[in-house]
Symmetry: C2
Amino acid sequence: MQETAVLDAAEDLFYERGIQAVGMDQIRSTSGVSLKRLYQLFPSKEALVVAYLKRRDERWRADLRAYVDGKDDKVGAVFEWLHQWFSEPGFRGCAFINSFGELSATSPKITAVARHHKDEVRAYLRGLLRDDSTADQVLLLVEGAIVVASIQNDPAAAWRAKAAAEVLVSG
Amino acid sequence: MQETAVLDAAEDLFYERGIQAVGMDQIRSTSGVSLKRLYQLFPSKEALVVAYLKRRDERWRADLRAYVDGKDDKVGAVFEWLHQWFSEPGFRGCAFINSFGELSATSPKITAVARHHKDEVRAYLRGLLRDDSTADQVLLLVEGAIVVASIQNDPAAAWRAKAAAEVLVSG
DNA sequence: TAGCGTAGAGAACGCCCGTTCTCTGCGCCA
DNA sequence: TGGCGCAGAGAACGGGCGTTCTCTACGCTA
């Protein structure tokens, strides 16, 4: 489907290079969808960015859930999954943190999507832990691990976060 | 001094709106320094961004040190200081995380400055704690608190991080 | 006072952006 | 087969970007 091709191209390019660094022409040539059709599917670049982020949010959380579901140590599994993610070749941090830093001053819609993603992650952790304040602390470790892993290019941040989470959960 | 005026304008505008959203003309009109002189002081926009980030890095860490120095509970004081920062009117997250998300794919120099800032923060925490692996865990809480406070617009993230840090340090 | 060098203001340059429009050509129905 | 409509390719548009250049006017030296 054309919409999927456009979103695939958008995700590859926006995540890899940043949103403002990618023009609509590059989305066109990568997706193979004409500019006219592209604007029929998404009436503006902002709408395309929002669609890209929404799809990524849902897939990201579904992947995390799928990995954690079978495991006994749910919290530990979250950080194992993060470590896997950090180790992927194209890893460049959290798309939502990056978009927020780039565009929160310009676009309330993009700000809202980023906020929603973090809300959902927090809710997921609360469901995993049954103690809200511990879950909120674990969320801080998750976000911190993502930031440190990307900026320092150091996937092992996930293991340090895992060790810290174990202390918080057991304590 | 003109250089200071330019850096002040750059910091205000880049931090508030993002780097790519601010043009050199706006730096000129805000600082009152002519474009020609501006390019004598900083030979390119990238050089100006690097200078802005370097000055901010040093001032940020000096402010943190100044606040923490007198306190008994050094680690607690770090999070108190963060809470103060999060509560400032123009708070929009960490300039280095934001710049990294926006430009790490484009500019190795900016990437290096962001990485250096985080290295220095880590080193500072290690000096405070004398136990490197605990310090690295506290770093995750610091970064996580910054991210959550900015995206959720919730300065209280600092208090949750403080409580978690107390558990990690005492444990 | 005459002449020179410097610095400032802002126009100009080439390029790329997001978005729209035009023009071409192909597929469908009578 | 002839006429119609849709869709694709890409040119066009207005504007903004980073950077450079021109031109003016002022201040110092003799």
